[in-house]
Amino acid sequence: MYDYRQAKKDILSILNSKTEIMKCAAIPKADSTLTYENGIKAWTAAIFVDIIKSTEIFKNEKEERVARVMRAFTSEIISILSSDDKYRQIGIRGDCVFGIYSAENKEDLVELFRHAYLINTFLLMLNKTLEENGFFSLSAGIGLGCSEELIVKAGKKGSGINDVIWIGDAVVDASNLSGMANRGGIEAIAMTRLFYTNIIDILKDENKNYSIWIKEKTGFYGNEGYYHCNIVQTDFDKWIDEGMKI
């Protein structure tokens, strides 16, 4: 059983160990940069994709079919999220697929926003394919957040568990927004105000309609403002509409 006296010693040894905090523009790629003796402070962006009413859907469907749909859903979203060399952690948490990215400049956030609308479009394709094959459909909320985060290699020396933990708003906000998006009048992609203010000028240079497509709403954490939209990737969407010919 857990030896709390030993635990106390372990804690003290951690608390008394030298820890170097490096402030980085980009989060280093190689895990080796992060050691048990340092931490990193860097701008981070996060995306969460949360399946709506998953337990209810899964309860009513045959397991074999649920397994197939979930495998298609997660593997493609992971594929989209990993097609970007700025990603630092991608994984599945409960029924959410999430990605955490190094975001040293605004373009990195714009790129993540593009992943969000690509996923939004992918879900249309998935649902159409599911429908054509007699499967049930899925919908999801997509949340985006960014912040300067403290990144610490956690886990334990020699334990084989050496994941990184992210402390700050980006991950928390993205997770919370993904649980709100695509429900109760909120569109499929929801982002924090900070995320929005960092991407909107670049997007407007590309197409001024972005400031109409992305709308403001209040009610995040009580009364904070956030932004939401239902943007899709045009060519992909058109291809779906035209019957998805390969």
Partner: protein
């Protein structure tokens, strides 16, 4: 950005068309048994520990101190959770530490609530240490849920992200329950109804009817249904902490 949606659709179809074996068994097997073509159905119990107010923690100017606290927090929780042959997955997802166990009996579930009691007591120790280092205290929500889950290997064959997807009310609910712990009127350990029913008689027995039922508060949530919260500690450990830091 290089997502090829036509290729994407092909992969979706491949997955849809491939035969998935669903194997119903008592225990979740070790990793190597999972392929991209099968799935398992088993009773599992998930435990999530979610840090409260990571924003406040991040706002602390002394990032070195905070990094150490976080490292102590995660490594000890991993230690507590690791100590179990039924463990099937453990790690960190963003800012949550979590563990998933295969559970076939009520005794095995009792072991898991016992871990929650240890974690809850450990938080007291950690906060005492933080007080000594003049860092404001932190709290965490501990969520536990049990259910018969469908487990499939998702991710992509070549992507290196081979996470398992746990479909059902164990992992998803544990993650959501942990977010409720130590907030509003909910106490730190938050457990789903099925898990409560699995552990309560053993707990009554172990505490020789000292009114265990009154230690739990009952709550209700639209999505999660009925759940319970408590703030039970391991007496001996807790007394040791209190004495030590007096």
């Amino acid at each position: 950005m290089s997502y090829n949606y036509q290729e994407g659709q092909k992969r979706v179809r491949e997955i849809m068309d491939c035969d998935n074996d669903i194997i119903d068994q008592d225990k979740v097997p070790k990793d190597s048994a999972f392929t991209f073509e099968n799935g398992y159905k088993s009773w599992v119990t998930a435990l999530f520990v979610d840090l409260r107010d990571s924003t406040t923690l991040f706002a602390n100017d002394n990032k070195k101190k905070v990094s150490k606290i976080i490292r102590a927090f995660t490594s000890e929780i991993i230690d507590i959770c690791n100590d179990d042959d039924n463990l099937r997955e453990i790690g960190i997802r963003g800012d949550c530490v979590y563990a998933i166990y295969t559970t076939t009996t009520q005794e095995e579930n009792y072991e898991i609530i016992n871990k929650a009691f240890y974690i809850n007591t450990f938080m007291g120790l950690l906060n005492e240490e933080m007080k000594l280092k003049s860092i404001s205290s932190i709290s965490a929500g501990i969520g536990i849920s049990t259910a018969k889950e469908l487990i499939v290997k998702a991710g992509r064959i070549k992507s290196g992200v081979n996470n398992k997807v746990w479909i059902g009310k164990a992992v998803t609910f544990a993650s959501k329950l942990s977010a409720k712990g130590n907030k509003n009127n909910t106490k730190s350990i938050v457990i789903g109804e099925a898990f409560y029913n699995n552990i309560i008689s053993q707990l009554r027995k172990n505490t020789q009817n000292q009114g265990v039922d009154s230690w739990f508060s009952e709550h209700h949530d639209v999505d999660l249904g009925k759940f319970y919260s408590c703030s039970i500690v391991i007496t001996e450990f807790d007394q040791w902490v209190k004495k030590y830091y007096k």
